[in-house]
């Protein structure tokens, strides 16, 4: 199974090492897929998933969720709003039907966990603990479903509590995915670190809204939704920078990454790895194109590994 992909060969030929250690798990490269913007079967029709450092799954709940009514998607200036509402077929379906396909590729699997309550989070984590997924990413931040986590991600207490409870149930590394819709993201990150989170990922979507002035109503049936894409990148970079200075655990940085240079921006801000989200809608092969651009950047400036990029940053 382990073999050099096309782009890995390019990196190797240039003497560039893209690997990164994330809470004890080695990713071949820092490129992962942002939860909810990637589907192994569909994405694999466009590129070789073995190019990825890790695939991060859609949010998985304990039972199937229907999600929100349509329209679920709106386009904004350099971004988009979604209110999918975490539609998903539930953890049992995931383990039986989706995980085996994903395992065919030479890459790590990070399962994204959704829940309306601590009990729900826990039951997903317990089920996934029995599988061979490599890490778990707990989404305490999705703003789409009222009970879907917004309360957890916006208070230090609740964030701590979820972290504590899920950590008990698994030996797999736990990544806590943080919401940007807070006054002080650094203190939320510190709270989850204190409870043993192995890493944090940020940012999830900003809460946004768009009104159709011709139809005279919100574009999205759910009224508000999660705002993502290149428009939000300055907020994401700022938050990664702040969190890097507040915690010692690894950070997966995301929010508006479209190019290899955007990846560098996140690495310099303090991210250990990154995820590509909305970019994969504007370009289905974005993760691999971005990986190639990252290599180009490193070659141009003579960087041999990711740490050298981080060390070069003055700020």
């Amino acid at each position: 199974m382990s073999r050099l992909t096309d782009i890995d060969q390019i990196a190797a030929a240039k003497g560039i090492d893209l690997s990164v250690n994330l809470a004890g798990i080695t990713l071949k490269n820092p490129i992962t897929t942002a939860s909810g913007t990637f589907s192994p079967h569909e994405s694999s029709e466009f590129y070789d998933l073995s190019e990825l450092g890790a695939m991060i799954t859609k949010g998985i709940a304990s039972i199937p969720w229907d999600g929100n009514p349509v329209p679920r998607i709106a386009e904004t200036y350099g971004g988009m709003i979604n209110a999918v509402g975490l539609q998903n077929p539930g953890v049992d379906y995931y383990i039986e039907h989706e995980l085996p396909f994903a395992r065919k590729f030479d890459t790590k699997i990070i399962a994204n966990v959704a829940g309306h309550s601590i009990t729900e989070y826990c039951s997903v984590v317990e089920r996934l603990n029995e599988t061979d997924v490599d890490m778990l990413e707990v989404n305490i931040s999705c703003p789409n479903v009222k009970e879907g986590g917004i309360g957890f991600g916006t208070s230090c207490d609740m964030a701590s509590k979820v972290t504590r409870e899920v950590k008990r149930l698994t030996t797999k590394p736990i990544i806590i995915k943080l919401t940007p819709n807070v006054t002080d993201i650094a203190s939320i990150a510190q709270s989850v670190e204190a409870e043993g989170a192995d890493a944090v990922s940020l940012i999830n979507t900003l809460l946004g809204m768009k009104i159709d002035v011709h139809r005279k109503r919100p574009v999205i049936a759910n009224k508000m939704g999660g705002f993502s894409g290149p428009a939000v990148k300055p907020v994401a970079v700022r938050m990664v920078y702040q969190v890097r200075r507040a915690v010692n655990i690894p950070i997966i940085g995301l929010g508006g990454i479209m190019t290899g240079e955007d990846v560098v921006e996140f690495l310099m801000a303090g991210a250990d790895a990154i995820s590509v989200g909305t970019a994969a809608f504007a370009n289905p092969t974005a993760p691999v194109d971005i990986k190639r651009e990252l290599i180009d950047y490193m070659e141009r400036y003579g960087f041999k590994n990711l740490q050298e990029i981080r060390d070069a940053f003055e700020g």
């Binding site: 909810g36 913007t37 990637f38 589907s39 079967h41 569909e42 994405s43 694999s44 029709e45 466009f46 590129y47 070789d48 859609k58 229907d66 999600g67 009514p69 349509v70 329209p71 679920r72 998607i73 709106a74 386009e75 200036y77 350099g78 971004g79 988009m80 979604n82 999918v84 539609q87 894409g229 290149p230 909305t278 994969a280 809608f281 504007a282 370009n283 289905p284 092969t285």
Partner: protein, 255 residues
Amino acid sequence: MSKQVVNGKIIGQGEIAPMIYKMIIEAPEVAENAKCGQFVNVYPESKSTLLPRPISICEVGETTITLVYGVVGEGTKEFSKLVTGDTIRISSALGNGYDVQEALVSVLVGGGIGVPPLVELAKHIPGEKIAVLGFRDEPFLVKELENLGVKVYVATDSGKVGFKGNVIELIKAEGIKGDYFYSCGPKVMLKALAAYCAEVDVPVQVSLEERMGCGYGACVGCVCKTKANTEKGFEHKKVCKDGPVFLGSEVKWDE
């Protein structure tokens, strides 16, 4: 990696009705695998319009595909400005197209910018073919369908051309009958047609539209409700991946 995004080359573009454009794109990799009723994602160049624009395949040539689209917003405005020789980023043909059926008389019902996919469809349908097309004001693609041996009826909202009224009224007025229906157009029209077909007990395939994120099945943004044996009596299917064509009878229209 059965799918890709390619730089198609525009070999012809023109306005065929007010604000309706026909674009012919040289893209062998796309044409090769394209079927009637499928669509392509067209990617605007502008960075402020991030998302792909799904456009139905109107015709498939040896190495070309033809798109017919209305200019309604930023993306389609950008496309309309392109000229012969320019490139345009399009995806492989996506979704499940029409499932062509044996029938003595097939009826193709189209509304506005839902008419385009019926052209390629007409090429593959056996037997007698009737098209019932509704427009606001100005019909288009009528000649193309007639050239394929289709008997075409036209309705316009304004009555400017053909029958004044909608396609269902026209079908009833003309007593148009068939043993299989295919359709594409606005949701209200599809819903009314599905109800009509249920009434006269004829199967109908409808091509749905929904706002898309990815356009290839990754984001679950574009769902429709179909009847299912679940607690709530429905399940969400992806228009871009499981559709855009569904049986009229499987769609839960009440939403």
